[in-house]
Structure formats: structure tokens, C-alpha cells
Amino acid sequence: MMGWNRLKWFFPMLILAGAILVFILRSSVNDYILSIICFAGINIILAVSLNLTNGFTGLFSLGHPAFMAVGGYVAAILTFPVTRKAMLLPALPSWLAAQQWSLLPALILGGLCATLAAFLIGFPVLRLKGHYLAVATLGFLIILQVLITNLESFTRGPLGLNGLPLLTNLWWVYLWVVITIYVCWKVKHSSLGRSMLAIRENEMAAECLGIPLSRTRIMAFALGAFFAGVAGCLWAHLVTAITPTSFSVIMAFHLVVMVVVGGSGSITGATIAALMLTSVVEILSPLEENLGAYGISEIIISIGLLLILIYRPRGIFGTQEPAFLVKQRQRVSGEVGRSLSYQNGKGGTS
């Protein structure tokens, strides 16, 4: 009971501490560092939401950037100033050309469009498993890129939309980081989350227990897509430009790396891996500039990733959350999950 009370206050305090930190940062550091922190936040949203599919449910999806692109483009078209639309997108239907939304509704609509896209492709694609699913989601990403490239009256083709209003700031990113982590945390520790973990460990056993396979998978996929869509909007309004190649296959791999390094299924792990990977690149960049050895940061990071995968093949945290964050009851359920995977022959040392 003690632990429960402690936790009840721990999370609100953490959120408050984060908010104070955001306030201090915004008034003390320069634009450059603020933008790095914003991108780190966006990466947290992406990694944690990708964890829903890749980590919890064991669906290896590479389609996250595609949902970002859907969300990003929808929001970008909606928030684009009317005067600029007239100049850059003359072929836009007049009802769309007259719209100029503020960030929040655009974010939510962008996220919902991404969710819709996830539903549409989820039904056929989620019948596939393992490598096949990875290839199918990759295919979706490429098809979407081609579509955006050729839908010139809405997207301006390969040139993309540029000069978007700079609406994303650290408050918005922080808000969505908190929402994403909160929702994913709740999902993980609910019956839905347990169903997801069960499906990952042993599909047949899960089905025998009465877990609706396809519904649970689509839930995971669509929920992940919503946050990816939101992150895409935040991204577009931070870079202030969006093109068909903004959200690439390389990005998909970076996100998967964050999930794998953090530990498939661990929200804390994904958060920390996202923070680490984003900041290490920037910390190493003065090294590149002073030595003139451009590309060395990529090499150092790759070696680091190899080492992590060799010495901690299940990632930093495995499927678990750090012990002091989890209620006693939940920890027990984690143990059950682990013993289930043990019986399954996959084994685990975390």
C-alpha cells in the first residue's frame, strides 16, 4: 500500500518537474539547443508509440514514417497561411485554400488521418507476420512517398511545402510527450496491454485464452499511428518544411533502433534511447567540425549500438520498466510474462 501511495504522487510530481524544466529551458538556452530538445521530444513520442506495435505486440512495422507523413502533410496543408497557399498551391480546391487552422486542431486531425490510414492498411497487412509485415509496411511507406510526389495540386510534388509557420515549441512537444507516455503506460498496464504482450509471446496460446488477435493488433497499430501522425505534425512545424523524402526508410530504421536499444516493450527504455540517440549526435558534432572528419559521429554511434546489442541483446531494459516505477502487483504480472516467454523456449535474461 505504501508503494501505491508513493507512485500516486510520483507521476504528477514528475510531470510538474518536467514543466518547470521546460519553463527554465525556454527562458535560458538558445534556439539551437531548444530545437535539439524539441527533436528529442518528438523522437520520444515516436519511439514510445512505435513500441506499441514493435515492442508490445511484436509486430515488426517499418511504416511509422508513413504515418508521420500523413499527419504532417494533413496538418501542413491546414495550417499553411492562406496568402502563401495562393502563391504556392494555386490548384488547391477553394474550400481547402480558405482554411488556416491553429496548431492543436491540425495536430489532432493529422493524428486521426494517420489512424484512419493505419486502419485501412491494417486489415490486409496485419495478417502477415515477421519479415513479411516489415516488407509490407515498408512498401506502404514507399507507395505513400510516390503518391505524395505525384499529388502535385495538394503537395507540390518533390519540392514539398515550405515556409510553414513555426508553431511547434517546447510546450507543445512536452504536452504530447506526456500524453504519449501516459497513454502507452496505461495501455501497457491494462488488460489490452497484457493481451498485446501475450500475442507477442505466443499467438496461439493467446488466441486459446480468448484474446481477439486481429482486433488487438489493429488497436496497437492504429494507436501507434495516431501518435506518429501527431509527431509528424510537430516535426513539420518545427522544420517548417515538408517534402516526400522528409520521412524516409532511414528514419524508420532509426526509430526501430531506438525501440530495440531501449528494450522492446519498455516505455522507459524507448524514452531514454530516444533521448540518448538524439543528443549523442549533437554532442559529437563539434568533434566532426573541429577534426574535419565528417561522418565520424555515425561510425561512433554504430559501434555503440553494436556493443549494446552484443552485451544486452534484449535492450537496456528488456520488456520491464525500472522496478521503482512499477506497482508491486504489476511487477508480478511482468514476472508471469517473463516465465511465459521462458516456457516458449525464447528464454530471457533481463
Binding site: 538556452v29 554532442i283 574535419g292
Partner: protein
């Protein structure tokens, strides 16, 4: 989680230290944003070399504004738009007096608007879309000519000098640059009274052009020339395959053909009757060009890789010239001085910003290839 937070603070502290350390320095700083790794590196890396070379030459001659050194800070943006936006903010946070960079419109559009917002001038060394200054604003300056000028130049040459009346146009449909080039060529050529008899398309990375060649052969009435809007990789291949198919009609193009591949891939026997418009640099004998090539070879031990190297050199030259005339590095005075550039003798031709569009008035060279030898045949000047 506490440990996590501690980690975050440590990271922030380190990043903060770097930023503060860099603010304390003395010289005149220019932020050079280039994709030094990734897909664009073959275009952007030579440009940064050119830019650094110009800064070195200026410093050796005593610097600017009474002995202040010019420092070109190369920032690698990894052919990634996120890194581009971060790089631009980083340059601005370092207090650069001007930015320069990029050989591609996409990356200019992800960085230049951030400079515009702060009122700091940005000079692109290689992006050629003629509407960039209109999209970004009055802080945006271009070193190269616009795509419209190079297309008009080769269209004029094809019509007036090659006496072609009927053309076939091939376009790489995967890039905005190649699409724009074709658009402006068709516009000018039909305005002159020529006729477009067939349009064909391909994609970047295509290796086999036999289908397009078959249609080119079968075209009736017979084509007098073929315009190929391509980037270097496809430039060599298309010339080779068209000549191998026994077609001898002139092949014309823009600066995508300004590459050794046009002669090395087809070989000396087949590399004939190719004409392209490009920066006044290749095979040019003006003293600026000769001096640049000599300095580049001395500094890097190899000849300049492509025309982006002198363009990077010129971008720094333009900014240095403006600083000299402004007598200060204050951003709005510097912007005004840049906009007032008239007849700056750059390696890639004289630059004047006299047009309302912000695209420089700049000569375009027409280069012909005979038996794998490049020769400057004509120099084209924009009318207004």
C-alpha cells in the same frame, strides 16, 4: 528515472558549454551548411572545399575589415532535413554574420527561411530554382543562374545555331530540378517557333533507355535534336545508348550534363555532337578560373571535382565582397550590400543582382563535345 534525469542535465550542460564556448570567439563567422555525408555529398563536399579555400585566400591576404579573419564553419547536415533545420539554428546561435550552402533546392528551403526570420543573409552556392528568393524573402541570394536561364540559353542555341526546328524532350521525372529544366526549355523553344514532336520520361537510376530510343527513332516527322533533362549518372548512359543505336542527331541539355561521364561513358568515338548549357567555368580561360583551379589543386592535391566547388568559392566571395563594401558585419547593412552587388567577378561568371526576382544576371556557357573534347562554343547573356 532519477538517473535518467541526471543524464539529461549532464547532456544539456555539455551542449550548453559548447554553445557558450563558440560565442566567445573573435573572427567573422560564416555558417556553411552542407550535406557532407549521405546522397548529396558528392555535390556538397566540393562546394565546402571551395568555400574554405576562398576564406583561406582572403585570410592570407590580410582578412577583412582591418585584419579580422574569416572563419567558415562547416556544418554537416547529413542529407537529412531535420539535421538541416538544427544546423541552421546552430549556425544562427553561433552568431554567424551570413549563411551559405547547398546544391539542392530542398535543403535550401529547409534552412534559408530560418535565416530569413532572423534577418541574416543566406547565399546558396548551388541551388538553381529561379523562384527560391521569392519563396524565402529578401535575405536569400543565389550564386548560380536560375534554371530558366540555362534552359533558355540552350533552347536559343538549339534553335539559332543548330538550326533545329523539331525536338524530342526526355525528362527525368523523379526530380524537381529536371522537371523544371524541361518545362523552361519547352516554353522557350516553342516561343521561338520550334516544335515539340515527342515527350518521353524516365526515372533516376534507369539503366536501359532502349524503349525511349525506339520511340525517338520512330518519331515522325524526324527530330532535329533531342533535349535530355538528366543528372550526371543518366547523362553518360543516354549519350552512349543513343549513339550506339546509330542515331547521330544533336543531344542538348543543361548543367546536369556538366560532368566527365558525358565523355568517359560513351568513349571518344561516340561522344559527339553533345551540347549543354552550364556555369561559365569548364574550359574557360578567364584569369579568375585559372587562378581558382591552381589554388584548388595546391590546397587539396586534385583538380576541382565539379562546378559546385567554384560555386562554393564564389558564395564566400560574394559575402566577403559585401562585407568589404558595407564596412561592417551588421546583418541589415550586409544584406543591403549583398543586394547591391554589381559586376562581381566570380569564378563562375560576373554576378549582378539587378532583377526584381533576386536571381543573378549571369552569363551561361554553351559547351560542345566533339570526339570526347569539351569546347566553349558560345556565351549567352540574359536579356533582363
Amino acid at each position: 528515472m532519477k538517473r535518467g534525469l541526471f543524464g539529461i542535465f549532464t547532456i544539456l550542460a555539455i551542449v550548453g558549454c559548447f554553445a557558450i564556448a563558440s560565442l566567445a570567439a573573435e573572427p567573422i563567422k560564416l555558417g556553411a551548411l552542407y550535406n557532407l555525408t549521405g546522397g548529396m555529398s558528392s555535390i556538397d563536399a566540393p562546394a565546402l572545399n571551395g568555400a574554405k579555400l576562398k576564406a583561406k585566400l582572403i585570410n592570407e591576404a590580410g582578412g577583412l575589415l582591418g585584419g579580422r579573419m574569416l572563419e567558415v564553419i562547416g556544418i554537416n547536415t547529413k542529407t537529412d532535413q531535420k539535421a538541416t533545420a538544427i544546423g541552421a539554428k546552430k549556425a544562427l546561435a553561433m552568431g554567424v554574420v551570413a549563411g551559405l550552402g547547398y546544391g539542392d533546392t530542398t535543403f535550401v528551403m529547409a534552412s534559408a527561411p530560418l535565416f530569413q526570420r532572423k534577418g541574416v543573409p543566406f547565399v546558396t552556392s548551388g541551388a538553381t530554382h529561379p523562384e527560391i528568393p521569392k519563396w524565402v524573402g529578401d535575405c536569400m541570394f543565389m550564386t548560380p543562374f536560375g534554371d530558366d536561364d540555362q534552359s533558355f540559353a540552350i533552347a536559343d542555341y538549339t534553335y539559332n545555331k543548330l538550326k533545329a526546328r523539331k525536338v524530342v524532350v526526355w525528362t527525368d521525372n523523379s526530380m524537381d530540378f529536371t522537371k523544371a529544366l524541361s518545362k523552361f526549355f519547352k516554353q522557350r523553344f516553342t516561343e521561338l517557333g520550334g516544335k515539340l514532336i515527342l515527350e518521353d520520361f524516365f526515372m533516376m537510376g534507369d539503366k536501359d533507355f532502349s524503349a525511349q530510343i525506339a520511340r525517338l527513332k520512330a518519331a515522325s516527322p524526324k527530330a532535329d535534336a533531342v533535349f535530355i533533362s538528366a543528372i550526371p549518372n543518366e547523362a553518360g548512359l543516354t549519350v552512349k545508348q543513343i549513339r550506339e543505336a546509330g542515331l547521330t542527331l544533336p543531344i542538348v541539355s543543361g548543367d546536369g550534363f556538366d560532368t566527365e561521364l558525358v565523355t568517359t561513358v560513351p568513349g571518344p568515338r561516340l561522344a559527339n555532337d553533345v551540347y549543354f548549357s552550364t556555369h561559365t567555368y569548364r574550359e574557360d580561360t578567364r584569369p579568375e578560373v585559372v587562378a581558382f583551379i591552381k589554388a584548388y589543386e595546391k590546397e587539396y592535391g586534385r583538380p576541382p571535382e565539379n562546378a559546385f566547388a567554384p560555386l562554393g568559392f564564389d558564395a564566400v566571395g560574394l559575402i566577403a565582397d559585401a562585407i568589404k563594401r558595407a564596412g561592417t558585419t551588421e546583418k541589415s547593412a550586409l544584406r543591403k550590400a549583398l543586394a547591391a552587388t554589381r559586376g562581381y567577378k566570380a569564378v563562375t561568371g560576373e554576378i549582378s543582382y539587378t532583377r526584381p526576382s533576386g536571381v543573378p544576371m549571369k552569363a551561361v556557357s554553351i559547351i560542345g563535345v566533339k570526339n570526347a573534347k569539351y569546347k566553349v562554343l558560345d556565351t549567352w547573356f540574359p536579356k533582363q
